[in-house]
Symmetry: C2
DNA sequence: GCAAATCATTACTTTTTGGTCAAGATTAAG
DNA sequence: CTTAATCTTGACCAAAAAGTAATGATTTGC
């Protein structure tokens, strides 16, 4: 279970845009340079993010990319879903081995764990906005642990 | 962020072995058939799991695979780490774009989120044993939600 | 000891993902 | 209107992951 290259770089490009002041924009070469990737690759990523509605662009001289919505209104789970093509809904169609359908039809002991894991990740990401990734590593770290709160196994009290 | 094929099938093969009674074992063709994968693929997976110490094997007629430890002593985080090659520790070396090193040296706003996510997943998996994946889907689902407990963002009380 | 069944290991092929290239379209500036 | 800068798009190439095949080693049963 890992972050794909597309998720990583796509997210990083968006953070660059989140750093901008109102009215500013970044060109593909600028984005590419700031993230250490090729201009062509930045172009592909921004194309995806544009299609998905996270960024807008203007062409021509003085053109560039900028966020389509305030960074505080964009949650990481939405971003990841686009960059990773929402794989949860197709899980059981993807891992069918050499068969047409997964052998575990009907009753499957693995599925609740896979689904549950994805829920946990989704839940964690849905609490974080792009805006909160702007800042120093220590401040983002503090934000993350504060937002995720204290996760422990507790029995509901008095329910 | 998704489960890889190796994680999925490897885990499923182990669950098959967890279903056995003491003294029983399964051959590669048997494992392959029960999971709907090819014998060659099952062979590769079991080789990995054998190297990692999760299973033992005996060769020759009446040979086969069986768990090296009780299913109740094997936690999913250990399994996933082997099947996915513990990618967290090498994250910043993997996503360097066209550069030799990641441009975000020293201070990185993405890293705490990546690390935090992996911690959350690791934490969830470290509470689940192979043994608890044996059973019906509904029972495994109930186990999962009970073990993960109630996750909410709560402020520490009186600390 | 021999044959059959089985695992072990490495090399190879296929598929998927990641990344690049090139031609086209749009815009701003002069 | 022309040019230069920029995004857009689809085709293409490369790298990584997944899966297959083939050969070798070990064990059991006769």
């Amino acid at each position: 279970m890992k972050i794909s290259a597309q998720e990583e770089y796509g997210l990083r490009c968006l953070v660059q845009l989140a750093n901008l002041n109102a009215g500013e924009s970044l060109t593909l070469p600028q984005i590419a340079e700031r993230e250490g990737i090729s201009t062509a690759n930045a172009g592909k990523l921004m194309w995806l993010l544009n299609k998905a509605g996270f960024v807008n662009s203007t062409r021509g001289t003085k053109g560039g990319y900028f966020l389509a919505r305030p960074a505080g209104d964009i949650y990481l789970n939405e971003i990841i879903k686009v960059l990773d093509e929402d794989v949860l809904s197709s899980h059981c169609d993807s891992y069918t081995g050499v068969m047409d359908k997964c052998v575990h039809t009907g009753d499957c002991g693995i599925r609740p764990v896979i689904v549950g894991l994805h829920e946990i990740v989704e839940n964690a990401l849905s609490r974080i906005t792009l805006a909160s990734l702007v800042g120093s590593e220590s401040s983002v770290d503090a934000m993350f642990h504060k937002i995720q709160g204290i996760h422990r196994t507790i029995e509901p009290q008095g329910i």
